[in-house]
Every structure is written in structure tokens, then in C-alpha cells.
């Protein structure tokens, strides 16, 4: 029984011949460590995300309320966030990976109309989007995200 639990190692001598030795504690621990590490090799995910932040102005005024969305050009994942009083910021866990992005921005303002929402059980303001299509559906805006935490962007838009 004891003999079976022995670990047998192959060692090479300087002439290229191999010989078997008995239990080798350092070799055994090294083997265990290697197999342990290799078990986790496939587990680390590839994509690293970085925080981004920035400023959006419309006609030189901070954009009060809106949404910014980044669509990857090539590889990457789509990310987005809220714009409040001209500022947006995505922490790393909601941020993009390195690469080029097409940027879509929509902005909202109240239309003066109201409608009843059954779920909220009250009258709510009907809001409208007022930016031209060149900033959203047919966007010409883009940005490039690089490594690190200093990804800051500014977009100066015109409502006309």
C-alpha cells in the first residue's frame, strides 16, 4: 500500500538517459503547484474595462438631461450612461474596453404635454428628444478609448 502512494519521478542525467528516482518532496510540491495553476489558466477573462467621463454641451450650454451610448467600431462592447447637467461618467465596471467607438447622444426636454401613466398612477410630463440625427441615429461623433483612467471626452453639439 505504501509503495503505491509513492510518487515516481523521471530524472535525466547529463548523457540524456533517464532514470527513475523515489519520492522527491520538492518535485512533488512543484508538480502540484503547476497543475493547480494550470487549472486556472483558462479562467481569466480577456476584456479589461476603463472608466470614462466627460462633458456635453448644446449651443454652448451644458446638456441638461440626456443619454450617451458608445457603439464599438470593430471589437468591443456597447456601453452607455446618463448625461446630467452636461456631465457623464462611467465607472470601470460599466466602462468600455480599449478601442474606437461611434458615439450617439440623445437629449430630452419637456414638451408641455402630460399623460397618465397607469404604473406610476399619476400624470407625467411627456418628454421629447431634440438633437438632430447627426448626433444619434446617423451619428458622426466618435471617440477613442485608451488604457488608463484619464479617458475624458468633450462633445460640443448644436441643436440646429
Amino acid at each position: 500500500m505504501r509503495d503505491l502512494s509513492r510518487v515516481v519521478l523521471f530524472t535525466f542525467d547529463n548523457k540524456g538517459r533517464y532514470s527513475m528516482t523515489g519520492f522527491n518532496t520538492r518535485g512533488f510540491v512543484f508538480c502540484c503547484w503547476c497543475s493547480f495553476c494550470s487549472a486556472f489558466l483558462g479562467c481569466s477573462s480577456g476584456e479589461v474595462y476603463y472608466p470614462i467621463s466627460g462633458l456635453v454641451t448644446v449651443d454652448d450650454q451644458p446638456l441638461k438631461k440626456g443619454v450617451i451610448t458608445l457603439f464599438p467600431i470593430g471589437t468591443g462592447t456597447t456601453v452607455g450612461g446618463e448625461i446630467v447637467d452636461g456631465k457623464f461618467s462611467l465607472p470601470a465596471d460599466k466602462g468600455p474596453s480599449v478601442g474606437k467607438y461611434r458615439v450617439e447622444i440623445v437629449a430630452f426636454k419637456t414638451s408641455g404635454k402630460k399623460e397618465f401613466d397607469v404604473d406610476l398612477n399619476k400624470q407625467v410630463d411627456v418628454e421629447v428628444q431634440y438633437l438632430p440625427a447627426k448626433y444619434n441615429t446617423n451619428s458622426t461623433l466618435d471617440c477613442e478609448v485608451s488604457k488608463g483612467s484619464n479617458n475624458e471626452f468633450q462633445f460640443n453639439l448644436n441643436s440646429k
Binding site: 500500500m1 452607455g80 440623445v106 430630452f108 418628454e127 428628444q129
Partner: protein, 310 residues
């Protein structure tokens, strides 16, 4: 003569336990994966059932069931002036009941009034659990913040590649306000156009906030209208009457213009979502699908050449 050994030494026991541990460690993920595969299969069966039901409906009505009856397609306003018979708010699921062998439930539903005006005595029957709308990978939820307490579901209709109010007709899907496509409308081909996509049942947030994503019984925007504006399982937030639940893969930005509301297709499956095509075939779409291909597959007459990779 040596006496025979009784029992094992400590080292031998430890080695055996370690080996068992390693084997279990290897086996457990495999078992979990097999269980998830079975759940995914069930999900795909549900979608196929819905596809067949849709085709049965189309045999009778010569078009797919109406996506949602409520807002006016031209400007998104509610026109409850009582003059038009079609302005009573009615969700897509109501038209599916008869063709899903839920005719008795459908008989209780009163079409002369809005869905939310159905008498309280009928709530449990009308808005009750419907297993074909439930993906077993997700958790069953009800709309706890409403008196109807309607059950949520996992399948939403394809609302095209735009947002809630589709500005460009080329972006339109087979379902819309007051619209369900005829086969002749689906010019891109029924096998290249989504009919329904998976969605997640958003739990009701604590504190009474409203999150109506994944709710087939309310026809209003951001309930079950899925657009391909955002990719499957998008890390970018949905926009709608919802509550940010990023921690459970349900990011959201609440409010804004209803015309800009957008729900992405989401699922609890690993790496993608299940979709139903207009020809009633079911496919798995990977999260990493090219966004343009994904959008092309959701438009019914966009004129693009797009196919699902097999």
C-alpha cells in the same frame, strides 16, 4: 509473521479525499452546464410553441397578432377618445391566448375595456401564470407594484432596430403599435427576420420603484417591446420606465422621451439569447454578433442581406 493491517493511515485517507475532491470539482461544473443546457432546450421549445401559435393566428387573420394596441403609431400619443374601437389598451399576449390553448382565459378577458380596467375578480385568471412564457433559466416575477399583480414573462416581440417610436420605416420589425405583419410585409424573408426575442423578468425593486421590463401584460412602452438598437445582453442600459439593477444584468436609465425608450434582448443563458424567427425556427444569437447583422435580422423589409450563422 506480521499481523494484517487494519484501516488506512492518515496520509492515505487524505489522498483519497483529495482525489474525490478533484473529481467532484471537475464534475460539478459539467452537471451545472448540463442542467443549463436542458433549461435552454425548454426555453427554445417555448419559443417554438409561440412561433406555431403565431402561424395559427396568421392562418385565421392573414396577419400576425397586433404588437400593441394603445399609442397612436404616428406620434405615440394615447387617443382614448372613445371614437375609435381599437383604442382600448390591449397587449400582444391577449391575442395569443386563443392560439395557445388558453381560450378559457381569453373568454374572461373583456375587449371593450383597457387591460388595466379588467375587473379585479378576474385578475388572477387573466393575468395568471402562463408557463409557455417562462424561461426556466430566469426567476418568475410578478408586477408587485400594480393591483393586477400580473405575471412577467421572458419573451418579447421584435420591435425593429430603432427605438420605441420607429422613425424610419426601414427599421421596422414585424410588430408595432396597431400593427402585426402580413407574410407579404416581411420582404427580407421570414427565415431572416426575428419575430420574438428573449427578455428578462425584472424583479420589483424595494421601495416601490417601478420596473416594468419583461411584462407581457402591459402594452405600454418598455414592457415587452424588444429593439435591436442595443446588442443582446447589452452592458449599455435599457431606457424606459425601469430601475437600474445592473448587479443582476438589468442596467437601466429611467425616464426620458418615450419615443426613445429601448429594451435590449437579455437572457440568463451563457453568452447569448434565444430568438424566434418569423418562420417559427428558433436560434441562439451570440452576444458578440455584429451589431449591424443583428439589426438587419430584426428589420422585416430593410432590404439587407443578412443570415443567421448556423
Amino acid at each position: 509473521m506480521k499481523s494484517p493491517r487494519i484501516g488506512f493511515t492518515l496520509v492515505e485517507l487524505l489522498v483519497v479525499i483529495a482525489i474525490i475532491g478533484i473529481l467532484v470539482g471537475l464534475l460539478l461544473p459539467a452537471v451545472q452546464a448540463a442542467r443549463e443546457a436542458a433549461r435552454r432546450m425548454q426555453c427554445s421549445n417555448n419559443l417554438h410553441q409561440l412561433g406555431i401559435a403565431m402561424h395559427n393566428y396568421s392562418d385565421m387573420a392573414k396577419r400576425f397578432p397586433t404588437g400593441a394596441i394603445g399609442r397612436r403609431p404616428s406620434d405615440g400619443a394615447y387617443v382614448n377618445d372613445g371614437r375609435q374601437p381599437f383604442t382600448k389598451r390591449t397587449p400582444f399576449i391577449r391575442h395569443m391566448l386563443a392560439v395557445l390553448e388558453q381560450g378559457n382565459r381569453g373568454a374572461v378577458y373583456d375587449d371593450r375595456i383597457n387591460w388595466h380596467d379588467q375587473p379585479a375578480a378576474n385578475h388572477e385568471v387573466v393575468f395568471g401564470f402562463l408557463s409557455v412564457w417562462q424561461c426556466p433559466s430566469d426567476t418568475v416575477q410578478r408586477m408587485e407594484t400594480n393591483p393586477q399583480r400580473d405575471y412577467k414573462g421572458n419573451y418579447g416581440v421584435n420591435w425593429g432596430s430603432g427605438t420605441q417610436m420607429v422613425a424610419n420605416p426601414l427599421q421596422q420589425g414585424p410588430y408595432y403599435w396597431l400593427y402585426g405583419a402580413r407574410f407579404s410585409d416581411i420582404a427580407d424573408g421570414t427565415s431572416n427576420t426575428f419575430a420574438m426575442l428573449e427578455m428578462l423578468q425584472a424583479p420589483s425593486p424595494a421601495g416601490g420603484a417601478i420596473d416594468r421590463r419583461g411584462r407581457p401584460w402591459n402594452e405600454d412602452s418598455s414592457c415587452y417591446q424588444i429593439s435591436t438598437n442595443l446588442p443582446p445582453n447589452s452592458r449599455a442600459p435599457d431606457r424606459g420606465t425601469c430601475f437600474d439593477q445592473s448587479a443582476i444584468k438589468l442596467p437601466c436609465i429611467n425616464g426620458g422621451s418615450i419615443a426613445q425608450y429601448t429594451l435590449a434582448s437579455r437572457s440568463r443563458h451563457t453568452g447569448g439569447v434565444m430568438v424566434l424567427n418569423c418562420d417559427a425556427s428558433v436560434h441562439f444569437i451570440s452576444d458578440s454578433i455584429d451589431i449591424q447583422t443583428y439589426r438587419n435580422l430584426s428589420t422585416q423589409a430593410g432590404g439587407e442581406v443578412a443570415q443567421i450563422d448556423q
